[in-house]
């Protein structure tokens, strides 16, 4: 009885292990493949199947991507607009969510659904109106044009996420804080913000990824090369007749994706930290 139980457990464990490995492979494959493609010479691209290893490590793709794709300028621009808009998104969506969920005032429902509507907007449709607005305000070719747009479009989803998280928070915490003599602002910054850290981290990761990968806004509002963002760099590798330098494209993508991956790996640690502290608290 005992043996068979142990055997069963072993089998189960092995099965799970195999599943995990298989699953990891499926998830890792694109990244491996992308790196492989980034290191392939044009000759390898031509003659080898897509899943084959490159015959030599062809670093020229990276130097081409860096210089031709003007990655150093674009990287800087992308960092500036992404981080700024991320700051505004996180800040505004947490204050708004707090007001929407935990505070009591007239018109709460209306404002909540107004914000919710934002996740349904197809991006292409705001291009022309926004372009015209920014043109009249002289905001074309400025970082602000992107920061404002990114923030506006990031708010809905973030408010949605944070609100959901806050809703499950018990009200007694707030009550206790008031009894201790907290005012509303110190309650928000000292009690609420630390408690919703998990949600904020999720928002940061998701929004970073969305804003970092934007092409259509930056292409429409920014015309000056010195102001362009990282995704526009990919334009430098295809020509009018559809011929593409895939090696350089993947080198550029690999470099462009690094900050997002790093951010995720770092923040992922925080999520776990937040979890354990939550467990202690609970």
């Amino acid at each position: 009885m005992l043996v068979s139980y142990n055997q069963r457990r072993n089998i189960k464990r092995t099965a799970i292990r195999i599943l995990v490995i298989l699953f990891l492979f499926v998830q890792m494959y694109p990244v491996l493949w992308m790196l492989m493609a980034a290191f392939k010479s044009p000759g390898d691209m031509t003659s080898l199947p897509a899943y084959a290893l490159p015959t030599e490590l062809y670093f020229k793709n990276f130097s081409t991507a860096w210089t031709t794709g003007r990655m150093s300028i674009f990287f800087r621009n992308s960092l500036i607009v992404t981080i700024s808009s991320l700051f505004f998104i996180v800040f505004f969506s947490s204050t708004t969510s707090f007001a929407l969920i935990k505070m009591k005032w007239k018109g709460q429902q209306l404002i909540a659904s107004l914000f919710l509507m934002g996740i349904m907007v197809p991006v292409t449709i705001v291009l022309l109106p926004l372009f015209q607005i920014y043109m009249k305000l002289g905001l074309l070719n400025t970082y602000w044009s992107l920061i404002i747009t990114y923030t506006g479009f990031g708010l809905s989803l973030s408010i949605f996420l944070i609100s959901n998280y806050m809703r499950s928070m018990p009200d007694d915490i707030i009550e206790a804080a008031f009894i201790d003599g907290c005012n509303l602002y110190s309650l928000f910054f000292r009690i609420i913000v630390p408690l919703i850290k998990n949600a904020l981290v999720t928002v940061v990761i998701i929004q970073f990824f969305f804003r970092w990968n934007d092409l259509i806004f930056s292409m429409t509002f920014i015309s000056r090369t010195s102001m362009k963002t990282i995704q526009t760099g990919l334009m430098y590798f295809s020509d009018e007749y559809g011929s593409k330098n895939w090696g350089a494209i993947f080198a550029a993508i690999s470099m462009g994706v690094t900050p997002t991956l790093l951010l995720y790996i770092v923040l992922n640690k925080f999520v776990i930290e937040g979890m354990t502290s939550g467990a202690v608290k609970g």
């Binding site: 995990v20 204050t95 505070m103 349904m120 197809p122 449709i125 996420l161 990824f209 990919l234 939550g278």
Partner: protein, 294 residues
Amino acid sequence: MKELLGNRKAVMLFVLPALFIYLFSVFIPILWSAAYSLYRGMPGLSFEFNGLNNYVKMWSDTMFIGSFTVTLKYVLIVVAGQVGLGFLLSLMFVFGIKKYTTLVRTLVFFPVVLPVVAVGQLFSKIVEISPQYGLLNSLLATIGLDSLVQPWLGQSSTALGVLCTMDIWTAMGFYAVIFYAALVEIPQDIIEAARIDGASGIKLTSKIILPLLRPITMTCFIFSFTGTLKVFESALALTRGGPGVSTKTLSMYMYDASFLYSQYGYGSAIAVFVLLECFFVSVVLNRFFKSRMM
């Protein structure tokens, strides 16, 4: 306490900046476009008032109806896949593989952060048939299933399937992480108590976990619906709407109408339609989940 939480000055301070930015960059442009949708032609070239004709014209436009059908099929499959698999994955993180959770959870998110261009190219290489067999076709050929080797993206019957698979695969990690965040919030004692009562496996999931996750499930469904109804970039990167028009989605048609056919008014009308559609689905979902919660 009521007084403190009803502080109007604080509400304004907390909400107004966000509301202002939002109205400015999202809401006003939408109204602007809604106004455009009553015109025909392209501003700057020829643009004249057309009343509600664009909205009427849609329903006799075969291209519109075709892309609408494609979008619906796509949405149904992808929403089910993204939310369903996302949920299963999150269960796996919590219950199945405690040891490797961190690693798996990190990796499952990888596809989410890859740019669509890269994922599209990756998938078209995986299912490639010419000039060389891709991973899938070589695999089929190696294990002797030659009859199954086919141009996956080159025929209407399979192209949409590949597109759906790609988008499910890309986004399921996102939903898994959202579900996971909610799952770990469930107090351990509730699950322990249920376990002691003899609930396990499917019963534990359906009777205890799912009801507790209802709000987040609704969130996921709404995300997934609104995200997929707008599908544009992934279809463009993988198939460019082909072969024929078998993967041409509503958003792609909207883009074509607005910027290629110079029917900006008509394009705006389609956009407003997509928006209303999303709105409708969200309301329905909201109702559904609320009524079930009672």
